[in-house]
């Protein structure tokens, strides 16, 4: 069956890549790109990194409107979120409009979690959208005393950006060690050293009791009773898949996190409906398990593949990947490949107690499952290659030994 109407819901990285891949694959039918925000598709990683510099950066927009409309022939529907999906009638509801599709890519991403009871105060922000980042930038420009809630990667990057301007920064983390779920205990602790080494006041094992202020945030009261004055509060406590609009669609949403459950080809089970990016929980054949990733690389790749598969389901191919993410904090680059398996974490270069360059490997059973580096750009992707090839743990350790011998 030849398809005529591709609708892509979500106008961020995955949605953009879906559109571009459809045209690259030769699709000549109509494409509608639906975005909740007014902005043209833009890149998110810079929002918590270079966009916060004290220079005057351009918004990281991917393509001009003319490239999208004229070169790619995309109808842009920006500024209104999709509110419903009818898989039997093959329609997406967007405001007052109903869009017909015969191929659909769901790429609505994730929404930043907020701190209950704080959203009414000016100066309290999450960093997910361009508008968020513009507001945070403005507060940093004004020299705001900054408090970051959550020592995850986004929170750490904000803290780093504020410190780069010489501002006082406190980071409050509810867990005893930051980043445990992302990279495990040992390396979570190593990453948190960077805060101490760069003059950020990191407080772990404390929560936020309440955020106080008269219309605008003035101080934060912590669960241990301490009070911290702040003019800017950035909340970085994770994100949840933006799938509320799919609640009555009949699509299967994950019982724990509401991600859209897909098979290994990113198909949701409904005819012609595929998902990509932060919303998609799919079966990754490389690790033989269901995963949902909030990473740039998987969003880009899934977006492209979901479109190709939606347009030609008979030839659909699985999405196989070794997850990858990076973070830039205090002039150091943290990179992680694979999964943070906990059978064993072996530091093969550097010393987590001393800082500097570190390379750590993660074992699952008898195979190499993950690798983390701090300032290890020259080796991290070699480990990604080894993980892709299901390299055994002894072989991975031998490789690490060989690298170390070369380096010294």
């Amino acid at each position: 069956m030849s398809r005529e109407n591709l609708v892509v819901v979500g106008a961020s990285l995955a949605g953009l890549r879906a559109v571009e891949a459809a045209r690259k694959a030769g699709f000549r039918g109509a494409i509608t790109l639906v975005g909740a925000e007014e902005h043209l598709p833009y890149d998110r990683p810079p929002l918590s990194k270079s966009f916060l510099d004290d220079r005057d950066p351009e918004p990281p927009v991917f393509r001009t409107e003319s490239v999208l409309r004229d070169d790619l022939g995309v109808e842009l529907s920006l500024g209104t979120p999709a509110t419903g999906l009818d898989v039997a009638g093959k329609q997406v509801r967007v405001g007052e409009r109903c869009l017909d599709y015969d191929a659909l890519v769901i790429a609505t991403g994730a929404t930043a979690r907020t701190l209950p009871g704080s959203q009414h105060l000016a100066g309290v922000h999450t960093v997910r959208t361009l508008d968020d980042a513009v507001a945070v930038r403005k507060a940093l420009d004004a020299g705001a005393r900054t408090l970051v809630v959550g020592a995850g990667f986004i929170g750490s990057e904000i803290a780093s950006g504020a410190r780069a301007r010489g501002l006082d920064v406190t980071v409050v983390e509810a867990q005893a060690t930051p980043l445990v779920r992302a990279v495990g205990e040992v390396m979570g602790s190593a990453c948190s050293r960077l805060h101490h080494d760069n003059g950020t006041d990191l407080r772990c094992g404390v929560g936020v009791q309440r955020v106080e202020g008269d219309g605008r945030v003035e101080r934060v009261v912590l669960s241990d009773g301490s009070v911290i004055d702040a003019e800017l509060v950035v909340v970085g406590i994770g994100a949840t898949p933006a799938t509320d609009w799919l609640r009555d669609s009949g699509l299967t949403l994950d019982s724990l996190d509401n991600g859209v459950v897909c098979d290994e080809t990113l198909c949701t089970g409904a005819e012609g409906v595929y998902a990509a990016g932060d919303v998609a929980r799919w079966h990754n054949p490389v690790f033989e398990r269901a995963m949902r990733l909030e990473h740039w690389t998987s969003a880009a790749e899934q977006g492209a593949l979901a479109a190709r598969n939606a347009l030609d389901p008979a030839a659909a191919t699985p999405y196989r990947t070794v997850p990858y993410f990076w973070s830039d904090v205090y002039g150091s680059r943290i990179q992680f490949v694979g999964v943070p398996a906990s059978d064993e974490v072996r530091v093969v270069e550097g010393d987590p107690d001393r800082g500097g360059r570190i390379v750590a490997l993660y074992r699952e059973g008898d195979r190499l499952a993950g690798a983390l580096t701090i300032n290890g750009q020259n080796v991290i992707m070699k480990y990604r290659g080894l993980i892709t090839k299901a390299t055994s743990w002894p072989d991975a350790l031998a490789f690490a030994e060989q690298r170390r011998a070369v380096a010294t």
């Binding site: 790749e301 750009q377 020259n378 992707m381 290659g385 892709t388």
Partner: protein, 63 residues
């Protein structure tokens, strides 16, 4: 096909290296080194590397 890199954009993330290790490598200084031409049979991998670059620093051109 020829591969070019915009050094103003490349930050040495290295995704290209993981997709086409015969063509790209991040050296000990954290900088990208690459072959000028696409080796035979590796066009798909190099195309994946070009579109996989988060800073859009890579380009493929007819040589």
């Amino acid at each position: 096909m020829r591969i070019t890199v915009d050094r103003n954009k490349c930050t040495g993330l290295g995704i290209c290296e993981s997709l086409a290790p015969d063509v790209f490598e991040i050296n000990d200084d954290g900088e990208l080194v690459l072959t000028a031409e696409v080796p035979d049979g590796q066009l798909d991998d190099v195309e994946a590397a070009v579109s996989g670059c988060p800073t859009e620093a890579l380009r493929l051109e007819q040589s």
